[in-house]
């Protein structure tokens, strides 16, 4: 039997990195799994080796070839700040980190495939945009926010790398925002606010990807990488109004010119910092992408559609149950009776 595959995952301490490692551990054809990050991942792993390193550091170019990896999965791109990774460091981590990682990949002679977990933010959020972006439609609109420009920059490096190394299968996954019962992200926190501010007169179409499908697609692409970009999104779309109704959340519509300034405050509270500009645009115009390539070429069929992902989030997320005590006396009485 041929020797098994050797996979290296960057950003192992992130939710996605560690979830992917746990999935891959169950796969007997994978001989070796290593994870790179600046901090040790939480939770136990069966056989994943942890390598403490910063992908922004050129020393990576000495570490990576030593692992004799044939597959590198880059999960180190951050959408929002995480503990130990401040908002200021995001640009460095996303752009410089990717650049250093690609440089290290050049030195790794054993490399056969590279999978990058990137974002669908490259398509932008525009009112008049095509309702479903396909992979060729990136950069139809100017990149407006900091995060979008970072993604644009790293996609540029990625394309350059893919062109120079035609023997390596380079796969770029463009993720729609994720949601899931156990996932603590700014969007989930937004949907769990006691009163949710929305933009008056706008009802964006959204595609929220279930966290389980997000990991599933990542594992599928690691097993069967295809060349070029692939959209990762559920089937269908769901409007913000419907999401909030399913979640039983009262809304507070605010005229959109006021929404931005107010939201940079709220964004900081939700843990999205100045990246919240992306959120403001997403919650005004929404975005839909076409997932045909994911289903037919990568061969991954998302388990949840857009509505199913929201329903699952709502039913399992304790914080999203009605926090609001009913203002009616009957409800209060009943609550007291029940608590006995």
């Amino acid at each position: 039997m041929a020797p098994g595959r050797r996979v290296v995952i960057t950003g192992i301490a992130s939710h996605w990195g560690s979830e992917l490692a746990r999935r891959l551990e169950a796969d007997p054809t994978i001989e070796f799994i290593a994870g790179i990050d600046t901090a040790e991942p939480a939770g136990d792993f069966e056989r994943t080796e942890f390598i403490e390193a910063d992908i922004r550091n050129p020393v990576l170019a000495r570490i990576l070839p030593g692992t004799e990896a044939d597959t590198v999965v880059h999960c180190g791109i951050l959408w929002y700040p995480e503990p130990g990774k401040s908002a200021r460091a995001l640009h460095d981590i996303n752009v410089i980190g990717t650049l250093q990682l690609l440089a290290a990949c050049e030195k790794t002679a054993t490399l056969r495939s590279l999978v990058v977990r990137s974002s669908a933010a490259i398509y932008g959020c525009e009112g008049a945009a095509p309702s479903f972006f396909t992979e060729e439609m990136a950069r139809r609109y100017p990149l407006k926010t900091r995060f979008q420009r970072d993604i644009g920059e790293l996609e540029g490096y990625f394309e350059n790398f893919a062109r120079r190394h035609s023997d390596i299968t380079c796969c770029l996954l463009r993720y729609q925002p994720e949601i899931g019962p156990g996932l603590d992200a700014p969007l989930a926190r937004y949907l769990s606010l006691p009163v949710v501010p929305t933009q008056l007169g706008f009802d964006p179409r959204l595609q929220l990807l279930h966290a389980e499908d997000a990991t599933g697609a990542l594992a599928a692409a690691t097993g069967n990488p295809v060349r070029g970009p692939v959209n990762v999104a559920p089937r269908g779309t769901i409007s913000l109004t419907k999401i909030l109704r399913l979640a039983g959340r009262p809304t507070l519509p605010i005229p959109h010119p006021l929404f931005g300034p107010m939201f940079s405050q709220l964004g900081r509270r939700l843990g999205a910092a100045d990246l919240y500009n992306d959120g403001v645009m997403l919650l005004r115009y929404g975005r839909g992408v076409d997932n045909t390539r994911l289903r037919e070429e990568v061969g991954y069929e998302p388990r949840f559609d857009a509505e199913g992902a929201v329903r699952d989030f709502v039913s399992k997320n304790a914080a999203s149950r009605r926090l609001f005590p009913s203002p009616l006396p009957g409800a209060v009485a009943q609550r007291i009776v029940r608590s006995r």
Partner: protein, 325 residues
């Protein structure tokens, strides 16, 4: 006969309706006292109401809980049906629309309905075309109009358009819809059509770059040309305000005999008489999808469709006679 008259019907006996409402309110209150939230209390109490009212209370409750269907484009059929009566009123009484040849729209499968465009302020012609297909077709289906992109950047209008089935005008959207075997409605004249002067009425503008033919060829969809007569008279545009257009970012802001002189009253469209005539479909399935790259062919078919609509327009104008009476 007697069985039906015994069941209480909404609006049939006002006294019963009033009694029903009082009973309804009593039940809502008792529901609230039982600790239900207002929506479920109303839903439970709705048994006291006449059937039609009860249905709408229950529908409201269901919708408020998020239990309704939207397709992947954001089209909400229930919402479209709820606003439909307003457009039906315009169709039947305000514009007295007469539609012919609706059966030229296929009952099954994809089709591209191509129409002239007019009605400067608000393109009511699209809504009346939808009405013609929904009211007069033996197997009605909701057609999906391609809407000027600008509308999708505005608050309220954007979400309204989407909920009633409007789609941002993009060839990618048109192709995807046709592949889903929908009826797509396009107005190749675009803003140039709606923004033309009253003196130029019923003279077709350029048909864009023939993008609609490309879409039809790629998807093998029959093209159904339509002539709409009447929409040119609803807001006769005698001038436009470039200053206001620039301020609003709008493609144009029309000045009509009533707008802006009568204030909000000027927004009421004039009650012209309408005719909507659907022509024989043009079958493009003889061409392979690669033919979509052939510019000369695109222009040829585009011209053919344009000539068909123009001729039909002149004939329909004669058949209509007087514009208002």
């Amino acid at each position: 006969m007697s069985a039906t008259s015994e069941t209480p019907m909404a609006g049939e006996r006002p006294v019963e309706a009033v009694a029903g409402t009082a009973e309804f309110l009593r039940r809502v209150r008792s529901g609230l006292n039982d600790g239900l939230d207002p929506m479920s209390a109303a839903e439970r109490a709705a048994v006291a109401l006449p059937k039609t009212l009860r249905d709408s209370v229950q529908r409201m409750g269901r919708r408020m809980a998020g239990r309704y269907h939207e397709d992947e484009w954001g089209f909400d059929e229930e919402f479209a049906e709820a606003v439909y009566p307003f457009f039906e009123f315009l169709y039947d009484f305000w514009w007295r629309v007469q539609a012919t040849g609706v059966e030229n729209v296929p009952s099954h499968g994809r089709a591209l309905v191509v129409s002239n465009h007019s009605g400067s302020l608000f393109p009511f012609d699209a809504t009346m075309l939808v009405g013609a297909i929904m009211k007069e077709h033996p197997l009605p289906r909701w057609p999906r109009p391609m809407v000027l992109n600008w509308a999708f950047e505005l608050p309220f209008l954007s979400s309204f358009m989407r909920k009633v089935g409007g789609i941002p005008a993009s060839p990618f959207n048109a192709i995807r819809l046709l592949e889903q075997d929908e009826i797509v409605m396009v107005f190749p004249e675009g803003v140039k059509g709606t923004g033309k002067q009253f003196s130029e009425r019923y003279r077709l503008k350029r048909f864009g770059r023939g993008g609609f033919v490309e879409v039809a060829l790629r998807t093998g969809s029959p093209i159904v040309p339509v002539a709409v007569v009447g929409a040119e008279e609803i807001y006769p545009k005698i001038a436009d305000s470039q200053l206001l257009a620039k301020l609003l970012g709008a493609p144009f802001v029309p000045i009509t005999p009533t707008l802006p002189w009568l204030g909000p009253l000027g927004l009421i469209p004039l009650p012209s008489r309408w005719r909507i005539e659907f022509c024989e479909p043009i079958d493009v399935s003889e061409y392979p999808p690669e033919a979509a790259d052939d510019r000369a062919l695109l222009f040829e078919i585009s011209e053919r469709v344009r000539d068909t609509i123009q001729e039909q327009l002149y004939e329909a104008l004669v058949r209509r006679g007087s514009a208002f009476l």
